[in-house]
Amino acid sequence: MDRLSHKAAPARDSRPATRPPRSLRPTAWWMAESAGAIPLAAGLAWAVASRADGALPAWPAATLLLAGGAWRALALARARLTGQAAATRFQDGLRQRLWPALLPSRTARAALVGEDVHLAVDTVDRTEGLVARFLPLRGASALGPLLIALAVAPASWVSAAIMLATLVPFVFGLILAGGMAARRAQAQHRALERASGLFVDRIAHLPLILASGAEERIGRQLAMATQDVARRTMGVLAVAFASNAILEFFAALCVALVAVYCGFALLGLLPFPAPEHLTLARAFYTLALAPEFYLGMRRLAAAYHDKQTGEAALAAIDQALAHAAPIVERPAQPATATPRHLHGAGVVIAYPDGTRIGPLTWDWRGPGLHAVTGATGSGKSSLLLALIGQAPLAEGQIVADGAPWPGDAANALIGWAGQAVSLLPGTLASNLHLAQPGAQRDDAALVDLLTQLGLGPMLARRGGLAMAIDHRGAGLSGGERRRIGLARAILSGRPILLLDEPTADLDPASAAAVRAILARCAQDRLVVAATHDADLAALAQTCCAVDAPAARNAA
């Protein structure tokens, strides 16, 4: 299929900048689990030696086997749980960095809510296997063989040396096969990533496919594509399994060499002078530990998928953080004096998709009421967004009292009320006071304002200002939320109010009340409203029309 024939992207540096810390406790428990093999091997050796000897009792062997086995069971459980705890800690820290960066930068990054949910929740979840399993196992797989060799050495230092010697060709083999596997995987990565997502994508777009009458054609293509994914996956797996086979081979070789050496040493048939004296107990203890030498690495190989998933997730998070950083970390200049004159000349807002709005020109003097008009979708909101640094300015300049307007660094001066209103769990009163925490609260004035906004019946029904707001906005309607947002902007006491459609969806009486409130606000503040409402526009001192090719200024 031609869609799969694109050349794979050049190798990217896949090492994410966000690195999980080393987790010592789960690694230590995995090591403890390995150490449990020592009493187990001793128990086996005792059992066989006692049988050969006849004089020794069998119960110490049973006790050692039981103790070793119980210890390993406990250590295994602890290793998993401490690994999980490490993952929880890491993800907690990750969320604390990621969420405050994502939440305020979504508009500026042009990300959809669903995309951000995926990143903030699902992608963070995907780091679990990497931190909980892969990283502790990696630590243990490096130390485990040494521990086993150390445990074997007192019984048979030659066997310990044999085990360590098999590591050398093993590591070379693994590096060779690993490099080949990585190259093969990389070459197929793009095609596989695209094709393996097709099944979900085609079902997700089923309404479109059905409406087009294309279900049979798409079904045939999908059948070919899924077979193709299987074929390519097998190609990648063949190499991955080959490097696994190298591991298996050396694990088996390690056992075989130790067994043959010990056997011939016991027979006294070694083709060279015996370097040490072996007994059955020592030889058997050595043999029982031989499979443990490579166990850690076999476990690590089984967790390789966790590594890939986790590192891909971290790379995605890094990318999002890099996008968000310049938006979130812009130096917040201290709110200087309130500008008396906000002026824009030839301002063009250009989105990355090529949509251009403007050129726009306006001349706003405060205090006063100014309107931005235009049809829906014409870019009224974009103008307001440009004032708070959330829309990309391509040409022109925004000037406040003769100095360049600092964009979002001036947010502390701005009261905003838009289409979507953020509500925090708490009470209605706490939400209304979000913008000026610690200020003196005048509940009577608050209720008065809300009543003027037409929220009186809602207040009466839901328990007044003490009304509880939950994570989901307490089931308030869109219109109610927007009026709460408007009240919040007014109550913020901030000298500039930017309002997006303040009178939309209101009945005539409420709309008139809102206009009166805004006119009052405009006596001591700079109020800018993007609006369809001709009556509101009529109250404005200037009216910046976004629709027209050149902005009209009716000062």
Partner: protein
């Protein structure tokens, strides 16, 4: 195993059998390696103690050759087991995916809410992945059984008591694993899914008002408010991990008790004890790994049930009337002749999108009286309605694929010249020119992310290509600048004149609205 999976797996039967044969050989070689080595060591030690005559009499060639053969055989057969097992599972599940798509499409086509048929896509994807995993594991299960049987045979050399102890131990592990899995896991896994959904839903709710968050600096407070949900999710993950850890620990414990008990009851010589003990040890390890898969069994079972239900609710297909090639439409009492150009007007929330999607057969909840060629589209169903109507939905969806793939959806046999012509009418030539691979540019999650306006124009070109008598456009010029919008108006008007296609338009923008000759007001 469900019907959906049965036939594809049956087609992979030979590969599957070869994989299982490899698994058995690998298990035998694994057990054989340790058991032979143990027997060899103990025998060698006894011979060594017995003096030179005993040493000469001890046949060391056979066991040492056996050890080497087992080492190589285990490696080769394990590789074969993995390759063939994955091959069978991957190709069988590839077929399942294609079959599942066809079934879900059929069910949606004969149901009443085709417009919602895509909602469970991600879930289906995960469910099939789970089945793929389960199919791969079936192979390793065979190996575990083979190893257990060999170990039992070796245990018989130590007397019936040892055999019974090992059999009891193996049985106890098989009973404990699934019992613990079904008791501990489903509730915890369900809680984990619930906690995840709650966190995602709350995050979505709170992340929506991004400007408020930026202006009032609410991000830390929101992150704090979400922290509780995140903690609940972590707790749920931990609870599942705890259950899985317990399950694995109990398996290891039973294995240890079994081994200790064999030592106590065993009869026979030292070499036989060595042989049987190491064989038991080698068999208990893969046996306990089978129990680790029990942890996934409840999830896999649920996935199977969901997939079985998917597309199972086939409504009985009614013989639908054949509509006229160029049917008339009736919307809320107004009858529109073929080729008419009509604006559906009304404030936001008046149900314009609902109306056009109901007319297009994707849903059935518009309150207005509707008819195509005299028949209500809600009775006709999507299959009968779709030859009459080309809908460009407001969301302008694009499938993951190239631009050409997206345009080719419209109907079979569209050549590239027709595609380019349609893109020109839709004012998307500049979009195409900006894409490095033109029509063959891959659109999707990676790289070329298109804006709403660009997507809309490609979706519009697709609707134009479908050659249906009615073109239904839902907000076609959202996100376009005025100059492009004017150009689109001009080219679309010329195209409508030329083809005689009827137009139903939903648009807020006055420039587009002037394409229509009449208006139907909702609200």
């Amino acid at each position: 195993m469900i019907a959906l999976l049965q036939a594809p797996l049956a087609r992979q039967r030979r590969v599957l059998r070869a994989a299982m044969a490899c698994a058995i050989v690998a298990a035998l070689a694994g057990v054989g390696l340790l058991a032979t080595a143990g027997w060899f060591l103990a025998g060698a030690a006894l011979a060594g103690l017995g003096g030179p005559a005993a040493v000469t009499g001890f046949n060391y060639l056979l066991p040492s050759a056996g050890i080497r053969a087992a080492a190589i055989g285990r490696t080769a057969s394990r590789y074969g087991e993995r390759m063939l097992g994955h091959r069978a599972a991957l190709f069988a599940l590839a077929e399942v995916r294609a079959g599942l798509f066809a079934r879900i499409a059929q069910a949606a086509l004969s149901g009443r809410e085709a417009g919602r048929s895509g909602e469970m896509a991600a879930r289906f994807g995960r469910d099939v992945d789970l089945l793929e995993d389960a199919a791969i594991r079936r192979v390793s299960r065979v190996g575990a059984w083979a190893a257990a049987i060999v170990a039992l045979a070796c245990a018989l050399a130590l007397g019936v008591a040892a055999l019974i102890v090992l059999a009891a131990g193996l049985a106890a592990m098989r009973v404990a694993g699934p019992a613990m899995a079904t008791r501990l896991l489903p509730a915890r896994q369900a809680e984990r899914a619930r906690a995840h959904a709650a966190l995602a839903a709350d995050y979505a709710e709170m992340a929506a008002p991004a400007i408020d968050i930026a202006v009032y600096g609410l991000a830390p407070a929101l992150a704090e408010a979400l922290h509780e949900r995140a903690t609940a999710q972590c707790r749920a993950h931990h609870a599942v991990a705890q259950a899985e850890a317990w399950l694995a620990a109990v398996q290891a414990l039973i294995a240890a008790v079994t081994l200790a008990a064999i030592v106590l009851v065993a009869q026979g010589t030292a070499p036989l004890l060595a042989l049987a003990l190491l064989a038991a040890m080698a068999a208990l390890e893969p046996w306990s790994a089978v129990a680790a898969h029990d942890a996934n069994a409840p999830d896999t079972r649920l996935a199977q049930e969901r997939l079985e239900q998917a597309g199972a609710t086939l409504a009985t297909a009614q013989p639908a009337p054949v509509l006229a090639a160029r049917p008339a439409l009736t919307i809320a009492g107004t009858t529109l002749a073929p080729g008419a150009r009509v604006l559906i007007a009304g404030p936001s929330g008046a149900g314009k999108t609902r109306l056009v999607e109901t007319l297009a057969g994707l849903r059935d909840d518009a309150p207005q009286a509707l008819a195509i060629d005299g028949y209500d589209p809600r009775d006709l169903g999507l299959a009968a309605v779709r030859p009459a109507i080309a809908l460009m939905p407001q969301s302008a969806p694009l499938i993951a694929g190239t631009v050409a793939d997206n345009l080719a959806l419209a109907r079979p046999g569209i050549d590239r010249a027709a595609m380019e012509a349609a893109l020109h009418v839709a004012c998307a030539d500049d979009v195409l020119a900006a894409l490095p691979h033109g029509l063959d540019q891959w659109l999707g999650g990676d790289g070329a992310r298109l804006s709403g306006g660009q997507r809309r124009r490609i979706a519009l070109a697709r609707a134009l290509l479908s050659g249906r008598p009615w073109l239904v456009l839902d907000e076609p010029s959202e996100g376009l600048d005025l100059a492009t919008e004017a150009l689109l108006h001009q080219r679309l008007a010329a195209w409508l004149d030329q083809t005689g296609t009827g137009l139903l338009l939903v648009s807020h923008r006055p420039a587009m609205a002037s394409l229509a000759q009449q208006a139907i007001a909702l609200g």
